[in-house]
Symmetry: C2
Subunit: 135 residues, 2 copies
C-alpha cells in the first residue's frame, strides 16, 4: 500500500510539474514583444520624456499584463527614443492601449512625434525571461 | 529624555533612508545600457541563435553585474537581431567581455555577422528600473 501511495505521489508530482511548465511556456509563447522606434521634435523632448516616464511607470505598476515598458533614448542622438515593450498576451496589450494613462500619453504627445515605427519582435530565449524580468 | 531619543531616532532613520536612496541612484546612474543591432547572414541564423541563447543565459546567471542580456529578432526580418544589454557599471561590462562564455560567443559567431552596431542608450526613468528587472 505504501508503495502504491509513493508511486501515485510521484506521478502526481510529475504531472503537476509538467502542467506548471507548460502553463509558463504557454504564457511566454503568447506574449507580445515590441521595440517602438520614436523620433521626437527636439524642442519638445523634455516635455515628451516627462509624459512618457509617467505613462511607463503607471503601466508597469497598475497592469498585471504589462511585463515591461522600458523607455530609453540614444546617447548620441537624444531625440531618438526606443521603448522595449513586453505584454503577457495580446489581450494584455489590447487592455493597455485602452487604459487611461496610455490614452493620456497618446493624445498629449501626438503633435511632438516626428516618426513612429512599431517593430514586432520575438524573444530568442523566451523560457529564461523570468531570470531577467520581475513579472 | 524620551523626546531627545525619539528625535534622534527619527533623524537617524531619515539619514539612513537618504543614504540608501542615494546608493541606489548612484548604482543606476553608473550603469550601462545598450541596444546591439546585429544583422546575421541568413543561412547561419539558427546556429547563431543557439550560441547567443547560451551566452545570454550564462551571462545573466553567472554574472551579478549583468542586469539583462535580452536577445530578440524582428518578426518581419528574422536576420535582424537586437539585444538589450544592461550592466550595473562599466566595470561589470568590462568583466563581462572577458568572461569565457562571452569570448566563446564572440569568436564562434564572428564570421556569420554581416553588420554590427552598438547603440549606447540612457534610461528615461532609471529610478523605476527595479520594478521591471530582477537585479
Amino acid at each position: 500500500m505504501k508503495i502504491v501511495i509513493a508511486v501515485l505521489s510521484c506521478w502526481l508530482l510529475a504531472v503537476s510539474t509538467m502542467h506548471g511548465q507548460s502553463a509558463m511556456l504557454d504564457l511566454r509563447e503568447g506574449m507580445m514583444i515590441r521595440i517602438s522606434e520614436i523620433e521626437i521634435h527636439p524642442e519638445y523632448l523634455q516635455g515628451y520624456k516627462n509624459i512618457l516616464r509617467e505613462e511607463a511607470g503607471a503601466s508597469v505598476r497598475l497592469e498585471p499584463g504589462v511585463i515591461a515598458i522600458f523607455p530609453m533614448y540614444q546617447k548620441a542622438n537624444p531625440a531618438e527614443v526606443r521603448i522595449l515593450e513586453i505584454y503577457a498576451s495580446r489581450e494584455a496589450y489590447e487592455a493597455h492601449v485602452k487604459a487611461p494613462h496610455f490614452q493620456k500619453y497618446k493624445t498629449s504627445t501626438l503633435a511632438v512625434v516626428r516618426s513612429l515605427r512599431l517593430v514586432d519582435m520575438e524573444a530568442i530565449d523566451a523560457q529564461t525571461m523570468n531570470t531577467i524580468f520581475r513579472k
